[in-house]
Subunit: 120 residues, 2 copies
DNA sequence: CTATATACATAGAATATCTATGTATATAGG
DNA sequence: CCTATATACATAGATATTCTATGTATATAG
C-alpha cells in the first residue's frame, strides 16, 4: 500500500487506518463489485496512492459482512474464475453516510491545524 | 480522544493514526509549547474534535525528540509548576513539510473516492 | 512449461493509539 | 481542614488495524 510508481512517493501507512472501510463502502455504493476489482479500482482512481493489499481487503470485506453492512454472492466469470461479489445493504449506506461525516470533521480539523503551520 | 461534547459525536479513533505527529509539529512550527499546552490547544483549535490523550502525546514527543525533530528544555512557570517546552528543529520543519504533502495526497485520494459515493 | 495475472483466503508480525495508572503541586469549594 | 479538580509530567500494558508472508487454484502469454 502507498507505493507510488514514478517518483517513489511513500505515504505513511498509518494514515490509512480507519478510512479503508469508508473507501470500500463508497465504491460499493455505486455498483456491486468483487474483491480483486475493488483493489484495482482503488489504485486506478487514486493514481496508485492507495494500493490496498489482499491481506487487508479480504478480512475487511468479511467483517463488513459480519456487521451486515454488505452481502455477498458468487458469480462465474467468462474467464473461468469464480468471483465473490459484494452488495451494500441499507445499513451499509447509513454507515457510509456516518463515516463520511466523520471524515469531513476530521479532515477539516487537520486542515485547520495545518493551516497555521509555519515553514521557516 | 474524539469525544465531542454536545451531541456525542464520536470519530473513529483510528482515523487519527499517522497524523498526530503532523499536528504536533504544525503547532510547534509557530511557537515553542509544552505538552499540556499542546493537548489543550488541539482541543481548542478543533472544537474538541481532537482530544489527544497524555498516553499518546508524551510518548510521541519523546520519539520526536529521539529522531531530532524537536528539542526540549525546562522552564518554571509562575504557578509553581515545571514545564517541559519543545522547540522544533530544522529537521523537524523539513519533516513537517513532507508530512503535509503526504496528507494532501492522501486526503485528495480519499475525497476522490468519496466524491463518487451514492447514498440511495 | 514457466511466469504472470486473476481470484480468493488466513496466520502472524508490526505499529500506533488508548486505557489505566502513577507521581506531584496549586487552588477552589464544602 | 480536607477533598476534588486542574495542571503537568510519565510509563506499562491492552487494543485494534493494517501489513507481510504464505497458501490454494485457474487461465493465458511467451
Amino acid at each position: 500500500m502507498f507505493e507510488r510508481k514514478g517518483y517513489d512517493m511513500k505515504i505513511n501507512k498509518e494514515l490509512m487506518k480507519g478510512s479503508t472501510s469508508i473507501l470500500v463502502l463508497a465504491l460499493l455504493s455505486r455498483e456491486d463489485m468483487y474483491g480483486y476489482q475493488i483493489s484495482r479500482r482503488l489504485s486506478l482512481d487514486t493514481g496508485n496512492i492507495f494500493e490496498m493489499k489482499e491481506g487487508t481487503l479480504y478480512p475487511m470485506l468479511h467483517s463488513l459482512e459480519n456487521e451486515r453492512a454488505v452481502e455477498s454472492y458468487w458469480l462465474d466469470a467468462e474467464n473461468g474464475k469464480r468471483r465473490k461479489y459484494y452488495r451494500i445493504t441499507d445499513h451499509g449506506r447509513k454507515l457510509l453516510n456516518e463515516k463520511q461525516h466523520e471524515w469531513e470533521s476530521y479532515s477539516n480539523a487537520v486542515n485547520t491545524v495545518l493551516g497555521g503551520a509555519c515553514y521557516e
